[in-house]
Amino acid sequence: MVSQQRENLENVHFTLDNGLNVYLLRDNALPIVTVNLWVNVGSKDERAGRTGFAHLFEHLMFMGTESVPDIDMILERGGGSNNASTREDVTNYYTVGPENMLETILYIESDRLCHLPEAMTQEKLDRQRDVVLNERRQTLENQPYGKLWLALPSAIYPETHPYSHPVIGSVEDITAATVDDVISFFNTYYVPSNMTLVLGGDIEPTRARALVEKYFSRIPGRVKPEGTEVPRETYPRERRVRIEDNVQTARLTMVWHSPSFMQDGDAELDILSNILCKGKNSRLVNRLVYEKSLASNVSCGQMSGLASMFMIDALPLPGVSVETLEDEILSELNAIVRDGISEEEFNRTKNSIETAFVKQLQSIEARADSFNSHVYYAHSTDFPSGDLERYRRASVSGLMRVAGELFTDDSRRCTLVVDPKIGDRKDEAR
């Protein structure tokens, strides 16, 4: 199936004295290198009154130090580019550039891990707070159904759960952040033993290792923070939530707590989401869109993390109520639990998954990030074969077991309905 030459790139692993774990993945198909850093801190680690802080902090990591006052200017001068993302579990930083930029990228990355706090100012914090508030407006407040994503965490997780607030945080908490918070957060979480570094692409391992040692060994070792425990919930906090938004069409979203990433049942739920919603003959698309003409769209997915959720999402056609859609979806889920699924349905999805793996191997940046993810969640370096193996091993009986667990007990489901605000169904332009 997946070709041997590109399946598992040989990786070199070493640990610096300060505790930083490093992996080197050589792939010289093109003269490109990537540097990918995962930090074990995310919104799960935020304290009360500081929601959104892990993400705000991520923005501040790009604000420069005394020795590298402007990271982006230096990077782009050599054709490099960078970005980062913050999730519930982790923050990742990634840079890509021509192979001749490797040393510069390593210098910049290690410099901010040494010197960020010394260069932090109220002015930098204020500027990035404005940017983040605009990110919140652009991606959530001013987008159709954005309010759904803001309401979801508190609907499904108890107040004490580390996932019970959105990653972006509340406006009040983002506004309340101080320079002292930034320094203390850095000192607590941006510790070498709490991070994993992956170098990928057109590298020569001996030289790459020497460069990592040269630049990253200078970062002082500190105590590794105690990880935040993320319980896997079973029952949602709310059973039913209604939200009003400026939209033309209502939307139905059904959510269940599900097995964590890489744990038993996780791969089976990926397969189930394909059986339900991938392709026109999938169970829900066929029933809601083709046979009964009730929905313009239905989709689903297993959203995996240290805690996961399985989600089904549907948009009704005009004249159809969300309650009708909900009944139809539940009836199909009941049919699966009662009558099972066929081997044919189960196997149909496996070639799609294999193809998706091969496609993912084309980009070294994506590959390095997936490798880091595999190390974080599976504690293993056998990516991609080890990840693919989970799907090859999955069985109909395993799928039926997890489907039975999730869908037979109504109280395990949270249903969120977005209703159009009255008056928003027609154009209001003047």
């Binding site: 070709s3 030459q5 093109l30 001068r77 021509p98 001749n100 940017v131 033309q248 091969v358």
Partner: protein, 456 residues
Amino acid sequence: MELSLPEIPPAKLFQHVLPREMVLDNGMTLWYVYSPVLPLVTLRVAFDEGASGDGADKSGCTSMAAAMLKEGAAGKTAQQLSDEIENLGASLDVSVNQDGSSIYLQSLTQFFERGLDLLSEIWLRPDFEPSSFERLRKIVVSRLSQRKDAPQSVARLASDRMFYGPEHPYGRPVDGYEDTVGGLDISDVRARYERVFDPSGAAFFAVGNIEPESFRELLNARFGGLEVRRSVRDASQTERSASKPELRVVIVDKPDAPQTVIRIVQPGLSSRSQKTLSWQFVNIPFGDSFTSRLMQNIREDKGYSYGAGSAVVSQKLAGLFVSSSAVDSRVTGPALKEFMNELGRLPKGDFSQEEFERARETWKSEFVQSFETQSGVLATISNLYVNGKPLDYVNGFARGLESYTLERFNEVAREFPSFEEATIVLVGDREIILDQIAGLGLPAPVYCDLEGRPVP
């Protein structure tokens, strides 16, 4: 030990592999890149007609015709076709833009032949079953209604319509409007299919690990006997710019919107122009990189927005230069003022040596990265063909960068349009916008609805 910023050694010159040009027995062209790295094949069948041929009252017709291909073919239902594609783990998609249409197949090599058979069925033997058409139309109309909720889509609809005017094909959206799609019948769509997906207007582009001669044979066995009546290249459309562009302000009201979407369009270059790469190059330090003037000014210095940028958009009949951002509605006026300053400064051609060098290295790096994926390779080579550019066009530009000068860079900047030709679209709360833009010296605004059509 204190370390200092290392010197950057010179980058290697990158040149992409050129496709091999082959011809099927009936004269159809195939451009193929042999890439043995992964067991994956990607094929694009490109057609030289797109949505711009729809006509005002049938806007969206080509998109509907394209969508119908997968709704039933060769006597198989949409669900049966979908099952067969899923069984192969393949992607088989049909897409339309203003200038052309495509059928796109990607699969693991071992399944490619079976994928080709399915492609052949949907392309050459679609069923156009009336009940399938009715169902699809209802779904598409519902999705078009949802488009009104997305402020960036609304801004785009309004800017195209107001910049090009109602008579120009680019003034209308590729997917059409709720009423035009709602008014289509199956005979419209079938007639459009017969014109757009005529093999006479098609060419093949592919990349994969099958030997070139064998690959040609796979296509020839299926498509080498199709009747080809006209040359792909003699499409008779000629360049057609917007009616005399003049400075104008267009507002689309979204009451209580927390942000204003700003979208400014100015005249650009058609895709046939030999200057498109030069313009894209100059745009890097203006609005197409993180260190660009727009991003640094509007996001990093002022904090008005999460991002701001610009793009050189080139199409067959005409092109646009587009600048955009979504800004906190309470700073709509100051943010727009910064756009006006930057767009006013651009044609003065005062980029610094530092900005020029950053642009040069960024361009070279992105050029290499665009060849990482099969889709990226296909996009580059098929654009060369479709736009009538020489095979060596992008490679030649890369080589030319070694001796490119700042003076030449600034000369290109001076070709950029004057702000007096800008159409400024603002999507947000009307009352706030009017208050914010008073005093900027702009003409009185006109208004559009959420589908971008003018309202009194």
